[in-house]
Subunit: 314 residues, 2 copies
């Protein structure tokens, strides 16, 4: 790497899909000189080792953070507090403590009282991911072109915020800074509610008796299969998201249900005009997302088409 490292030593707490991706991207871009990975699960850590994700591996989180100038918590949101309590006494003065959790208000209110004055707490959230879990699910360019939202507490050290921003930018991200509460409301609608809805409809479908499960699977190309990908996301991570961003999720869910009830009524009373009006309005949002570079205008998500023998067709 021709560019100089931004941090000397990065300690990643949690070797799951995101932790693994951070390690790979940080190494690829030379953002750090040394990476230590830790995970409370021995088999996960051995998998990370087999993939050569880091320079050092230890099951002892306290040992991992010694001498690190950047410590990244990559555990489910509900596990952040315990992890922080374990490592904080061993972190070096002036180091940055950050995380990759999908909820920021809860992380901030949990960690802020624990963090001593000489450690810079700057929570963060890379808005990127897949439905896969574990070290081998990591992707080295996962953050490339994706937004990373930092939610520094009021009065945070500006040079520390800039250094962490530079780190994420080196990994390819576009960095935005906002208030933790606002982050949680934005993500409630763009991420948390879509996941909740997807989990719910897949659950509803699997409970049907009259329509067999094999029929649901067979004819899933009609729309259902896209929901199943989202509903295959990590159960523990998402359990914690809904438990810790309860207020914003319940509010967005309330709005969603209200709108759905109106739609239900329009169907029952055969109000074709209002259905068509909504369906036309939503098409416009899609166009804007493609224009903003947040998705590709490729039909069928670019899924490959194959002939009857399974060969790919152009």
């Amino acid at each position: 790497m021709s560019e100089t490292a931004i941090f000397e030593k990065l300690a990643i707490i949690g070797a799951g899909m995101i932790g693994s991706s951070v390690a790979q991207a940080a190494r690829l871009t030379g953002a750090v000189n040394r990476i230590v990975m830790t995970d409370r699960c021995d088999s996960v850590l051995r998998e990370a080792n087999a993939l050569s994700l880091a320079d050092d591996y230890t099951q002892d989180a306290a040992e991992a953070v010694v001498g690190a100038d950047l410590v990244m918590l990559a555990v489910p949101v509900g596990a952040m507090g315990v992890a922080a309590e374990t490592i904080l006494p061993f972190m070096r003065s002036g180091a940055i403590l950050s995380d990759v959790g999908s909820v920021k208000g809860d992380v901030l209110s949990t960690l802020d009282p624990l963090v001593p004055g000489d450690i810079h707490l700057i929570p963060g959230h890379p808005v990127a991911g897949t439905e896969k879990s574990g070290p081998s699910a990591g992707i080295q360019d996962l953050f490339d072109g994706r937004w990373c939202i930092l939610t520094p507490p009021p009065g945070a050290d500006q040079s520390a915020v800039e250094k962490l921003s530079a780190f994420w930018e080196r990994l390819g991200s576009k960095v935005e800074t906002m208030d933790a509460a606002h982050h949680d409301r934005v993500l409630a609608i763009t991420s948390h509610l879509p996941h909740l809805i997807a989990y719910n409809i897949v659950g509803t479908a699997s409970d049907l008796e009259e329509v067999t499960r094999s029929e649901v699977i067979k004819y899933s190309a009609g729309g259902f299969r896209d929901f199943t990908r989202i509903a295959a996301s990590d159960p523990v991570m998402w359990r914690d998201v809904f438990l810790t961003n309860k207020e914003a999720v319940l509010e967005m869910l309330g709005r969603f249900t209200e709108d759905l009830t109106a739609l239900q009524r329009a169907i029952r009373w055969g109000e074709g005009e209002s259905l068509e009006k909504l369906f036309s309005r939503t098409r416009d949002i899609r166009t804007r997302i493609i224009d903003a570079g947040q998705d590709e205008d490729v039909v069928d998500f670019g899924r490959h088409h194959t002939d009857s023998e399974g060969k790919e067709i152009e």
Copy 2:
């Protein structure tokens, strides 16, 4: 084409995305010797002509079906009756009248009383599509490896059903025959409800004031963008689906809402265990869909990753 044609002349009523795909696939596979396309909209027909989708084009549907041994209605479900009334007096004795509509009970009950005894009415539904509309959105291998469901009325001529099955198989489809009412219940959960939910959440998001629309678009990679693709589907086609499959959609929607209310309660009362249980169960369905070949196990739907300059990264 080395294989002989299954039908001599195919008349396609409606030159939209599906009609265009049928034309392209039928020509590519040599399933028919001649294709005539008709559309009530002059500009659509001219677009089809510019794309060389058929051998002949006419705005007069009655003229199009003269001498055709297969007539395929590829118009929104709500327009099937009027289209059939226009063409039936001109169809030749022994010809097959089929369609590609997403709802089958309504098509059957609308067309059955109109069709004379010497015409074989065999409704059908290729379970394939994209969110795009119009002749240029047609894809020649759209039906390849996808299911096509035929819903012949009781007492339908068996040789005609077999001939139509052979046609769809030539286009690459796997063909299944079932009762129209059962089709409508299966598709209500695998396709119609997912579309309704997607339309609804995109509508809810676009109505928020506190979270700006540009924020919704910016952070859509968290899950929301997958819903916007589905919610970009043809408004008129989907309006008709909900108006004509009202009963099954409302029943599935009732089940969905019931489950969602239970989920909402679990979030409100912090019942982490039941959340995790549902989220684990839904992961299993995804695995089965991939095993059944109904989707690919490619993360991020195989979307390309690009670097900050927009170049593709491997």
